[in-house]
């Protein structure tokens, strides 16, 4: 049994404009030691999938119509808020995109980290010995993520750190409870490439040493190629292709995956040869039958509009939701 397995997850959020169907049957699983990249365009539901795993989507108003999320055998959707609180920060860690807005500017990072450490230890907040121990853990963790002189930096405020250093602090914070699963939502998007490379290397080392599972949400396919063992491509609230990173990148089988890969200029691409993808992401308010990518797909046929395509298995866990899988292009 995988550490995290999401099955046929449907999420809808009612609003004044009607019912937005955000997730339409997400199937995904992540094992220990795997780094699974979740990629897709803005608005495809990547972030809400990540938030759902730590049950941070308030429901109501949101509604999980079908499906399940199982973390280490427990049904996340059925857990109470108290039970979830015991998981978050202890067994499930999260890192968000923007390292500037996720640290409180008014508190020293030490105070913010010690709070998290105390929560993960389940210790009494007012016990001096627990605080001292929490502080030691924070220092050890900061050193591990490559912050020098951690002893003194603990008493600095967030503005005294650079963007990359702040992201390291957040990574340290998310790892302090020694989680089994880390959800990283665009952890390097706000950073420079050289800092990004360091953070990717850091995440890679942590996964290799601690055998944790990572769900990495990103729209940067280069980051996926460098860091991930597996990749899941999301479109309009469904995973349309998944498999090992090498399988999906070397033999992309869904027209959407092919289009995404063709859109990125690499070091070898010549001017005028990248291909954009026409059309736009489907409106989540409109009900829809059949393949949601069909209106933008160059290989679409009449039968694509009839039923939601089932996953075809291409072997080695490489699954693709296209009725023409294997036979296109």
């Amino acid at each position: 049994m995988a550490l995290l397995s999401i099955e046929n997850l449907h999420l809808s959020i009612p609003s004044f404009e009607g019912e937005a169907r955000i997730l339409n049957g997400v199937d995904l699983s992540v094992e220990r030691g795997e780094i699974c990249g979740l990629v897709g365009e803005t608005g495809c539901g990547k972030s809400l999938t990540g938030l759902s795993v730590s049950k941070l989507v308030s429901s109501p108003p949101a509604r999980y119509d079908q499906g399940s999320i199982r973390f280490d055998g427990q049904d996340i959707l059925a857990l109470s808020e108290n039970a979830m609180r015991a998981l978050r920060g202890r067994r499930i860690g999260m890192i968000f995109q923007d390292p500037t807005t996720n640290l409180n500017p008014l508190f020293r990072i030490g105070e913010q980290m010690v709070d998290v450490a105390l929560h993960s230890m389940g210790a009494n907040r007012w016990s001096g010995s627990a605080r001292r121990e929490a502080r030691e853990r924070c220092i050890a963790m900061l050193e591990r993520v490559g912050i020098q002189d951690a002893h003194n930096r603990l008493d600095d405020y967030p503005h005294q750190f650079s963007g990359g250093m702040r992201q390291r602090v957040l990574i340290a914070m998310s790892l302090i409870g020694r989680p089994d699963l880390l959800i990283a939502d665009e952890p390097t998007t706000a950073l420079d490439v050289s800092v990004q490379a360091q953070i990717l290397q850091l995440l890679f080392d942590i996964v290799r040493e601690d055998k944790i599972a990572v769900l990495l949400i990103t729209h940067n396919l280069g980051v996926v190629a460098r860091l991930c063992t597996h990749v899941a491509v999301m479109y309009a609230g469904r995973i349309i292709e998944r498999g090992t990173m090498a399988d999906v990148f070397n033999q992309p089988s869904h027209p959407y995956t092919k289009a995404l890969l063709a859109a990125v200029p690499t070091q070898k691409t010549r001017k005028g040869t990248v291909q954009g993808l026409g059309g736009s992401v489907p409106d989540p308010y409109l009900p829809h039958a059949g393949c949601r990518f069909a209106p933008r797909c160059a290989w679409a046929e009449a039968r694509c509009g009839e039923a939601v395509p089932p996953d075809a298995d291409l072997g080695n866990g490489h699954r693709v939701a296209c009725i023409k899988a294997g036979g296109t292009a």
Partner: protein
């Protein structure tokens, strides 16, 4: 077309903080109808360079010759004229369009600002706005819509149309695709390449995405702490970098190539 010689900008020391050298002896030449990339990490001086070029900052030293005239030493009236010929497209299409103005007002605004010279009637202005919308892949149906009704890619197209309104010869593109999805980025890059060909534009392309710079530009320079570290044709800069810093930076770009995987390295 544009020749920058020994450009330096030093922000003087202030209470408690030492002087900051944002640009240090930067020189380059942008030929007509070519694209020049400026690459650097945050804090390397990319933004200061653009601010100097459009006259928002006075350089401490050096010259910026646009068709032989130094931008820093122009009278306000002449500067205004130059600004009609150098236009800028901003990074964030969500922040650079006024939410209270329709597409028509946004794209037509430069035509009003430069009315003295252009002398277009209201009717001619509307025609020009429609022409521009079509030029960037939108249409007359978008004329009366407001920014919130457009997607990120469409907004960036409006930003480009606005920049093209006064028929500039040169565009400064300040990370024009970094806020966009890859599929949309590809469309905008192709639009820029096509516009450059058909309108004979010159681009100064500011970016930290080396893949994009390599794709769009003919020549590029690499800035580090305000200094030019590397300069030349893109192939040379990217394939045979001379400095260690450039080599490290280029190695850090994650390419969409499974053979780069960290998992293979161990």
């Amino acid at each position: 077309m544009l020749e920058v010689k020994g450009l330096s900008k030093i922000y003087p020391a202030r209470r408690g903080s030492p002087a900051v050298t944002a640009l240090d002896d930067v020189s380059f030449t942008l030929a007509a109808n070519s694209a020049f990339g400026v690459v650097g990490e945050s804090g390397s001086g990319k933004t200061t360079l653009t601010r100097c070029l459009i006259g928002l900052e006075k350089p401490s030293q050096g010259e910026m010759l646009f068709e032989g005239r130094d931008i820093a030493r122009l009278s306000p009236a002449d500067l205004r004229e130059i600004r009609a010929r150098i236009q800028i497209v901003f990074q964030d299409p969500y922040a650079s369009l006024n939410p209270r103005m329709s597409a028509q007002d946004i794209i037509g605004e430069p035509l009003l600002i430069h009315h003295d010279r252009l002398q277009l009637t209201a009717r001619a202005r509307t025609d020009r706005v429609v022409e521009l919308l079509e030029r960037v892949g939108l249409g007359v149906r978008h004329l009366h819509r407001y920014p919130h009704e457009f997607s990120g890619g469409q907004r960036q197209r409006i930003g480009i149309a606005r920049a093209l309104a006064v028929k500039p010869q040169m565009l400064i593109l300040d990370e024009p695709t970094s806020a966009l999805d890859v599929s949309v980025q590809a469309q905008i890059l192709n639009l820029l390449a096509e516009l450059q060909d058909s309108l004979k534009l010159s681009y100064l392309f500011i970016s930290h995405d080396l893949g994009v710079v390599r794709y769009i530009c003919d020549r590029a320079l690499l800035l580090l702490h305000g200094k030019v570290i590397e300069q030349g044709p893109v192939d040379q800069v990217f394939d045979h970098p001379q400095s260690d810093y450039a080599r490290r930076l280029i190695a850090a770009i994650p390419d969409v190539d499974p053979s780069q995987s960290l998992h293979l390295a161990c």
